[in-house]
């Protein structure tokens, strides 16, 4: 499921795309054929009902009320190409909906809280995504770490930072947009029972507690100690001053690792 570099072809979610905030979406949202949207929406229905493995091009055609030949005329690449279009479309719809809400915010705390709350809510309630996470988790989770996750962060940052430039310079906006995306991803992949971000008050509290001070810190001169550049393991002090932080020990192997291996993440 390609994310970065994929053109976001379809924006037909009925959002007000003529507003200035949507300038950056318009360039990539080329006019799309009605068949294309119909096929994408039919695929979403199939995914929400039966998942990815069981959905065939025939199912999609039937659900869309189109012939198989028509589906292949629009998507000559078959199921893979359709799925790529589904991902692009759903991302474009998500960003477009986020933009509509964030564009109406009054202050920085608002725009971040609304964006985080809206994103978490839409992701958690997305019928196809819910089915896939419950029944075929690899199809979704396989794209949420390492390289794919970096691409997703970059895409989200590109679309969301324009909504922050009212309150900060573009570089800072990019940082903050990426940070907010990390928060959304973390709380949607592993929901927290005492931090329900679909509740706007909770989102706002999180933004005020953790995010705004971080933004202020970026603008302040660094008052902290010189950077810790000591070697990782050799520097262990004679008297260990760690304040009892031993909880990670349960994660350590039962038979200690060969000390010569400690530096590298690689044994083979």
């Amino acid at each position: 499921m390609p994310v970065e570099g994929a053109t976001l072809r379809v924006v037909d979610s009925g959002e007000p795309v003529d507003r200035p905030e949507f300038e950056h979406l318009r360039g990539v949202a080329a006019p799309s054929s009605p068949h294309r949207v119909r096929i994408v929406d039919a695929t979403l229905d199939c995914l929400a009902a039966h998942g990815l493995a069981k959905t065939t091009v025939d199912d999609i055609a039937r659900q869309a009320g189109l012939s198989r030949a028509t589906v292949y005329r629009v998507f000559s690449g078959g199921k893979d190409e359709i799925l790529g279009a589904v991902v692009d479309t759903e991302l474009a719809r998500l960003f477009s909906a986020l933009g509509a809400r964030m564009g109406a915010a009054d202050d920085l705390a608002d725009v971040l809280a609304i964006g985080i709350c809206e994103a978490v809510t839409r992701i958690e309630r997305h019928p196809a995504l819910r089915y896939l996470v419950a029944h075929e988790p690899a199809t979704v989770l396989g794209h949420l770490a390492f390289d794919d996750s970096n691409r997703l962060l970059a895409t989200a940052t590109r679309f969301l930072s324009p909504f922050l430039v009212r309150w900060m310079d573009p570089d800072e906006a990019g940082r903050v947009a990426e940070w907010a995306t990390r928060i959304v991803l973390s709380y949607t992949i592993s929901p927290s029972s005492d931090m329900d971000l679909t509740d706007l008050h909770r989102s706002r509290h999180l933004v005020e507690t953790f995010v705004l001070p971080g933004i202020r810190a970026l603008r302040e001169p660094d008052r902290s100690m010189p950077v810790d550049i000591g070697p990782f393991v050799e520097e262990r002090r004679a008297a260990d001053p760690a304040p009892g932080g031993t909880a990670l020990r349960f994660l350590a192997p039962t038979n200690p690792t060969n000390p010569t291996n400690q530096h590298e993440g690689e044994m083979a």
Binding site: G174, S190, T209, F210, V233, G245, G265
Partner: protein, 198 residues
């Protein structure tokens, strides 16, 4: 080394050589110089159980090394900076992980994601005493803050995004701003100092 451990390490050697999908119970048995039946006695779930356990084992080894790496750092900032830099470097240099992520991420990531809840709890529990030692910002709940920090640390470890985590200055900037600014009092806490928190 007990037999179970021997099987796990043999399986890891097979995965390092041929990847997750191609590693079978037979391969693991051959590598460990044991019979198939013995492997099944220790891993009745067969291949799936073996693969799951070997992924978990290597994950725990990784965090064991991370734990070693942050020992001796005397401040919360130093623990986080060292931990992030070590984790980033280890992940990048982990040839087996990199190859699996390149070729068969769908076989690895579901396990990693499930285990990440336990890992997150471990990181949060580890950070909590450092937070208490450092001093919390007004009105911030230490347990909630530790969970937030653990989430963010895992996020940067798995995807650095726009941060260059090989650059100590950038890591310090990251820790100072996106990680600690809202959580703790200023970097050099003084009695009655509230100026660092507008």
């Amino acid at each position: 080394m007990d037999t179970r451990q021997r099987i796990i390490e043999a399986t890891y050697a097979c995965v390092a050589r041929s990847g997750l999908a191609k590693t079978t119970v037979e391969d693991a048995a051959r590598e460990a110089h044991l019979s198939r039946a013995t492997v099944y006695r220790y891993f009745p779930g067969g291949r799936d159980e073996l693969i799951h356990d070997v992924v978990t084992w290597e994950l725990m080894r990784f965090f064991g090394r991370l734990y070693q790496a942050v020992q001796g750092a005397e401040s919360l900032e130093a623990v986080m900076e060292r931990g992030i830099r070590f984790a980033h470097r280890s992940i990048r240099q982990h040839a087996v992980l990199q190859r699996v992520m390149q070729n068969e991420p769908e076989l690895l990531l579901p396990t990693l994601t499930l285990e990440s809840n336990r890992v997150r709890q471990g990181i949060a529990d580890f950070l909590l005493p450092y937070l208490h030692q450092h001093g919390m910002a007004d009105g911030v709940d230490p347990v909630g803050a530790a969970d937030f920090l653990a989430r963010m640390v895992l996020s940067y470890m798995s995807a650095p995004g726009r941060w260059d985590l090989d650059d100590p200055d950038e890591v310090r900037e990251l820790v100072r701003s996106e990680l600690l600014a809202g959580v703790v009092v200023g970097p050099e806490p003084r009695a009655g100092d509230t100026a660092s928190r507008p």
